[in-house]
Symmetry: D2
Subunit: 206 residues, 4 copies
């Protein structure tokens, strides 16, 4: 059976939960579209995030890689089109790193296209009744760091044939339930909806 | 066993689904907090909406009344504080009525407070991890028409002791999944999350 | 010449500026549509706000009263339709008062309609190219306190013939310029646009 | 005196006005920070937009190039960091072209960094009280087409030393004033505020 490596970040930015981690725990061990889903937890730390993906790729030899992260404020599941060669952290990562306009990889190209079938993934989710769209920016924080870094890693390791990319998901309901006032007025998506969406998304893989 | 009348509107405004109707179908027949939940479908039509509630109250003799409607664009479950004596429809209702600045009831007071324990309902939902808040406006469309009208009906029929009010809910995911571009970028809430929220909400009733 | 009393609140909630105050300073002394505009600054304090309006009304004997407040997060100029008899402050006022579900006036009606020509005011602003709409809730903070309180004051003082109401305005650009990240992503409106809008709005008065 | 080429797009997508065009008309002919501002109008048409910039560059020999476009829905002035090699138009351009996932330039790199001092431009605007931020995506419509295309043009013509980039601006107030309901609830920025912002921004150029 083929293997899908799916990763979820640990909580960051003062949150006690990360929707990505909650989601990948739900998907771990499932068989979807001929893929065994293997889940891994990733630290929200520059370079360490990438080390964790590198180890998982070496260990699992996946046939596809989907990195999942939280995009607080977005209302739908967004599949990233591109990772760019910049680390420009608005807030420190979980070990206090806060690079400004530094490259992810000094010797890398300016950007990599995600190699997942992003349009088909979005179409499948929408057909399943789950709000989804293509995004053209994964930001410049650890999410983009890991997207770009993973694509660079695969490209330089002769593994560019492994489809890889990044999917951003909204806040979970429980994250907004503990807030008050205007800070609580961001969109959320429940885990059940996320699982339905990701199941449809994984059906889009070859 | 006590009875809770919970109503959901039919689709309107070009939508093929109304989250309120989908939700109350899920709740119908459940026993929660000592209440048997009795669900009714309501037309999005001025006065006819109110006739439907009047008939249901007469038939069921409920111990509490919760009217549910869609508030497209809001991210959380909002419990309305007040209904006001005005019909000012931005779009026609499902029979083409479009009153401008007309009263709901010519002989009524300017407004009624909802008689549900709105603060406790919100607190219960938040404690259960569901985003919720008090709202101070149910608008001036059929939602407010039915909120004000029901409170006026109960007050003038000597039934003001029956707690009654209105709860607005976000779009369902499937409603945004069929849209494109910026029109698709509104918050949604899945039925599973809504059911959890309403279960916690009903636990707040005496 | 007729007199228009227009009031602006002092800064609150950690802000160093209040767009309402900046706006009314610009309008002070102008003659618009046969009205001399008389501006007054209002403390963001329960009851004291109302005392300030009462004094101004006694002193000026205005022919119309427009109270202006900040509605952070709204993108357009909103003319309030109704004030309701509740003080339910999410944050303390500038003297630390934070009432929960208390009445503005114990002996007052549940609500008052604003007595300004709200629809014509909105139409005039839109015709002048300024985004505007009717709002059905002034919240439950000092803004609604002063709206309800002023209408109650005029009604109980035999001055209900003086048109009075409340207009909410967005953040100023400079308020968002000092913020970072997602907290900076709220709509703003410049003073020039506000002045154009209010000039068109005042043209709607009889 | 140095020359700054600043371009504004024609209206598109059903709008009768484009804020970018209105803005550059205001800036045309001004002298700011030692630059004479030369404004040009650009068609919202694939390739033709780029032809217009190429001609202007040849004619004017500018010392810096700022392309301005509308980003409906954004609340602040956003300076783009990167242009990417893809045309993926959600709506047709003004001549009906609607490419899907096609390159801007078949022989170009995957992306170009904008060569303007984007961080300093944002900092200058914020210091002047104008909301501004760096954006990491100019989308995949004619805006990004022209950003990427201009940077590619300059790079391949031996003119990479000319700082060039793209600035997105919000809707104008008059664009929302003609809309109704939820479609009118997007942020706007008045021309006066835009002019202040761009003046501060141009002060950031060397």
């Amino acid at each position: 059976m083929k293997k899908l490596l799916i990763t979820g970040f640990q909580p960051f930015g003062g949150e006690t939960v990360n929707p990505a981690l909650e989601l990948v725990k739900q998907l771990a061990g499932k068989n979807i579209n001929g893929y065994e889903v293997v889940a891994r937890e990733i630290p929200v730390v520059r370079y360490e995030a990438l080390d964790a993906v590198r180890s998982a790729v070496d260990e699992i030899s996946p046939d596809a890689v989907i990195i999942v992260g939280q995009a607080g404020g977005r209302p739908d599941i967004t599949v990233e089109r591109i990772g760019i060669d910049v680390d420009d952290f608005r807030i420190p990562d979980n070990k206090g790193n806060q690079p400004v306009d530094e490259p992810v990889a000094k010797d890398g190209p300016i950007a990599y296209w995600a190699t997942l079938p992003i349009k088909k993934m979005v179409a499948n989710m929408k057909a399943a009744g789950i709000p989804a769209s293509v995004s053209n920016s994964a930001g410049t924080y650890v999410c983009n760091h890991l997207l770009y870094g993973t694509l660079h890693l695969l490209a330089t390791a002769g593994k560019a044939h492994i489809p890889a990319g990044f999917v951003h998901i909204p806040y979970l309901p429980e994250q907004m339930a503990v807030r008050k006032g205007i800070e609580s007025q961001y969109p959320t998506m429940g885990v059940e909806t996320l699982v339905k969406g990701f199941t449809a998304m994984i059906e889009a893989l070859d």
